[in-house]
Symmetry: C2
Subunit: 145 residues, 2 copies
DNA sequence: ATGGATGCAAAAGTTTTGCAAAGAA
DNA sequence: TTCTTTGCAAAACTTTTGCATCCAT
């Protein structure tokens, strides 16, 4: 999935914010790495292109873009955060503990659970991202041997 | 829910580990606070009883007891960790973003989802703890006004 | 030109580690 | 006595913040 920089730039400018090379680079980087990216990974990647771009800018930009609804936070193993482009519909991930593979999970799969929880507990889950950890197909088969 | 210190102590000794006052205090503290406790909260609480007990010991003990299957890690808002006694069956939590209330969720509620994911993706989730964030019944009603 | 954004460096917060001393078995 | 565990302090990491400067608009 690619991002539409023109549309994003428009949204930002309309809200009175600026479209800087740093912000574009950081977005490009997240996109290039396919989402689920930690601040550190963004920094390391972006640094190869713009060596003076600071870590502070990475953190500030990630927060900012999340606040603007352009990125969303995902949980990453070890309690750290990952970021990725916010899609129009929430979606989720399965992450393999063995090989780190990341599999997309449609929101449709979780919807029944959300509804069940709402019915049982009158509780409205508002997470647009859930990450489940476990073993992927390949790694399960290896483990079984 | 209370913990059975005699049984836990036996398990540890059997495995060649020692049952120290610090370990007992830390377990007591987690139990007293009802689970979902951060390392910091454990430290602050235990400190009032044993002022010389160090943060390092808290961290080491939490890791150790988790490794021994006596505690489990739960996710806490903000990417930090919480700990609680490991029960015989996995269970989960709903945490209210507004009032921080923590509601227990039986594993039965999640089982259909786990099965669906296994059927669809041949992926075996191995999380014995999932935390969903959202709004609890009370806070939803307040928000609605 | 104007005010938002960046870079640098220092600070703040959290978790880990080395090592000598203490203490459970 | 033996070998695990603790306390202390320093180190390692990650994230945040202050402030002068820069630059997108």
């Amino acid at each position: 999935m690619s991002h539409n920089m023109v549309a994003i730039a428009g949204r930002l400018r309309e809200a009175g914010y600026r479209v800087t090379p740093q912000r574009q680079l950081i977005l490009d980087s997240i996109c290039a790495q396919g989402g689920h990216v930690t601040p550190e990974a963004v920094y390391e990647h972006v640094r190869t292109i713009a060596p003076t771009l600071s870590q502070a800018t990475v953190y500030r930009t990630l927060h900012f873009l999340t606040e603007q609804g352009i990125l969303t936070i995902t949980q990453v193993d070890g309690g750290r955060f990952g970021y990725e482009l916010a899609g129009p519909e929430p979606h989720h991930h399965l992450v393999c503990r063995a090989c780190q593979a990341s599999i997309e999970l449609s929101h449709a799969t979780l919807r029944p659970l959300y509804h069940a929880i709402e019915a049982q507990h009158d509780f409205a889950i508002d997470m647009n991202h859930v990450t489940f950890f476990g073993l992927c197909a390949d790694c399960r088969h290896v483990a079984r041997r």
